[in-house]
């Protein structure tokens, strides 16, 4: 009996190790961020895009209103692709779209808006990308759906028609 315990326990240990590693193989190695977070929006100070005046985040986002914060930049090609969708979103419903101009040249950003239109109710600037880090963002473009000062959903990458439909459903 004693002789049997040893091989048996070795097999069990190796079985457990094999199971753990096998499970690990199934996990994706590509980082998949959590997009359904109910996190509070960060508090920060920034500058308004057109006037250059100091603004506080608390004065931008009001309670009981739905906002879509869109991080954009004139040098970002996918931002150009999603811009017409933002223009439509702005026309179709009462969603307040707020823009965060990310690490941009202000002249280029103004030209971008002149060329493609301005869907934003308000725009603030993030010159060094630190405000985007406060939001837990990865880069441009990225959008956050906000209600009651909480992030309801995060959209990493450019918006497409499917996601716009989802946003329309969520805010109804």
């Amino acid at each position: 009996m004693k002789n049997k315990i040893l091989p048996f326990s070795v097999i069990i240990i190796f079985g457990i190790i094999f199971f753990i590693f096998y499970k690990g193989l199934e996990d994706t190695k590509i980082y998949t961020p959590d997009v359904n977070t109910k996190k509070e929006i960060p508090v920060f100070n920034t500058k308004e895009f057109f006037s250059g005046e100091n603004v506080k985040s608390l004065s931008i986002f009001e309670v009981d209103k739905v906002y879509l914060l869109n991080i954009w930049s004139s040098w970002c090609v996918p931002c150009r692709q999603e811009h017409p969708l933002l223009m439509n979103l702005n026309l179709e419903n009462k969603l307040n779209i707020i823009g965060m101009n990310y690490k941009d040249n202000l002249k280029n950003a103004e030209n971008f808006l002149k060329e493609l239109g301005n869907p934003y109710k308000e725009i603030f600037i993030d010159l060094d990308g630190t405000i985007a880090i406060e939001w837990g963002a990865y880069g441009v473009p990225e959008s956050f759906l906000i209600y009651n000062n909480k992030i309801i959903k995060k959209y990493i990458g450019p918006l497409n028609q499917e996601l716009v439909d989802e946003i329309n459903l969520l805010i109804k």
Binding site: L6, S9, I13, Y31, P33, D34, T130, E134, G139
Partner: protein
């Protein structure tokens, strides 16, 4: 007189350079333990991406605010989750990672003890 001036400047600047070097070391240590999330396989320290550069600025700001290393890790963990740290702490998702080697060592030790030492 010239020598005195030079001496004074050295005395004033020398402690400053030590402080700067210490802060730099701390910043490097922290950024080496932070994963660049958009460039897989690179730390924030190694990367020159927009994301990593912004993160480095935030680390500098937090150090200036007087936050400790652990507080800075905690800050980034709340923003991006545990994945941003190269050296994960002990929690419900990582306990197997930490406990398995100890468990294997103990079981292996017990087997060796039973078969070789007790038999003798």
């Amino acid at each position: 007189m010239k020598f005195l001036k030079f001496f004074l400047i050295v005395i004033i600047l020398f402690p400053l350079s030590i402080v700067n070097a210490e802060e730099n070391d701390k910043r490097n240590k922290i950024t080496k333990n932070l994963r660049c999330l958009i460039c897989q396989g690179q730390s924030v320290y190694d990367s020159d991406s927009e994301f990593a550069n912004s993160l480095k600025i935030v680390v500098d700001k937090k150090l200036q605010e007087g936050l400790s290393e652990d507080q800075i890790y905690e800050y980034f963990k709340t923003k991006y989750g545990e994945w941003i740290l190269y050296d994960p702490g002990l929690n419900k998702n990582t306990y197997i990672l930490w406990l398995l080697p100890i468990l294997i060592f103990l079981i292996g030790g017990a087997i060796i003890y039973k078969t070789f030492i007790v038999k003798k």
